[in-house]
């Protein structure tokens, strides 16, 4: 019985995470207005993916994704965005 509840809980969490990830991915692609929001949404996709990796039994991958995929990558994007700001004709 315990196992049953645990499994269903994990299933629900996974579904919720997947949904949130897809919404964030849509924001990353379709946000016509603001580039920073798209970058943050891409970082959010990575962060949610790292939680999902944890649920899928891959803690090593989860740590890597959290540190590299959502941390350093997002920062790199903003670094470059700060450099090209002001001259980008269409943002």
């Amino acid at each position: 019985m315990d196992l049953f509840i645990r499994d269903n809980l994990m299933l629900a969490m996974l579904l919720l995470l997947s949904l949130a990830m897809l919404v964030a991915a849509f924001m990353a692609i379709y946000s016509k207005r603001s580039l920073p929001i798209a970058m943050l949404a891409a970082g959010l996709v990575s962060l949610l993916a790292s939680v999902q990796f944890l649920l899928l039994g891959a803690p090593d991958v989860a740590m890597t994704e959290a540190a590299i995929g959502s941390g350093l990558t997002t920062f790199l994007f903003f670094f470059i965005l700060g450099r090209v700001r002001g001259g980008a004709n269409r943002d």
Partner: protein, 241 residues
């Protein structure tokens, strides 16, 4: 318009392909032969509790060497492409231009104090993650990224500080060399390239165990951290003119 239609067509056909894959997929009930070997033999062969670490460092250590090389190449190309921009200017005029630049806005109190407080902790956490890579989740790559984010905080709090670019490149070259030398030592003293049995395996599950895996992982962590840091530093040096 035609382009968008073609893209949509491509994406849709890929979607159909993926859905076929998804429908036809059935999860394994048993581990396959390779995974079964790793599951049963890792503890006795390498002494590492974290099987993923054992695969990365020992069983597929050559792949990791290649991966670190790719990362090194990426960092080197980033440095090359970015420094080619300043190629036209002579160093003196560059430094003059730097002097004439308006000074950076002062860093906020919060960031300055937070950096002083957090950077040692972040570096310590990175070292912990690297050293415990063979026992718990974590290891050289994760720890290296954490070290690099510590460097990033330093860079943000004081953009003008020149965090020894030289030191970083020395650390990177040294750890890369040590990684390869450890591999060759494995060839000479133990079973093959990057074999971890050049050091005693120790008791299973303790910090000083798993032969050379922690040592190799330390060098991988240093190298990865140095590579990420040098990428960040190179990007930071390209200020707006």
């Amino acid at each position: 318009m035609i382009k968008r239609f073609l893209v949509l067509l491509l994406v849709l056909s890929m979607g159909v392909m993926f859905s076929q894959l998804l429908v036809g997929y059935s999860p394994d009930r048993q581990l396959n032969a390779t995974a079964h070997y790793y599951a049963t033999q890792t503890a006795s062969e390498t002494g590492a509790a974290n099987i993923v670490s054992a695969i990365i460092v020992t069983y597929r250590g050559l792949d990791t060497l290649g991966e670190v090389t790719v990362l090194f190449l990426a960092a080197a190309i980033v440095g090359m492409v970015l420094s080619a921009k300043q190629g036209g200017q002579s160093p003196t005029s560059a430094s003059e231009a730097e002097r004439q630049l308006p000074p950076y806005p002062p860093v906020g109190e919060l960031l300055a104090t937070g950096t002083q407080l957090l950077v040692p902790l972040i570096l310590m956490f990175g070292a912990y993650v690297i050293v415990n890579g063979h026992l718990t989740p974590g290891g050289g790559f994760q720890g290296g990224a954490i070290l690099a984010s510590g460097m990033l905080l330093l860079l943000l709090s004081d953009p003008l500080r020149t965090i020894g670019h030289r030191l970083i490149s020395v650390v990177e070259s040294f750890s890369g060399l040590a990684f390869v030398l450890l591999g060759i030592l494995g060839l000479l003293l133990a079973g093959g390239f990057l074999d971890n049995k050049i050091l005693p395996l120790g008791t299973f599950g303790s910090l000083f165990s798993a032969g050379a895996i922690p040592v190799i992982y330390i060098f991988i962590g240093l190298k990865v951290g140095a590579e990420f840091s040098s990428m960040l530093l190179n990007l930071a040096k390209t200020e707006e003119r």
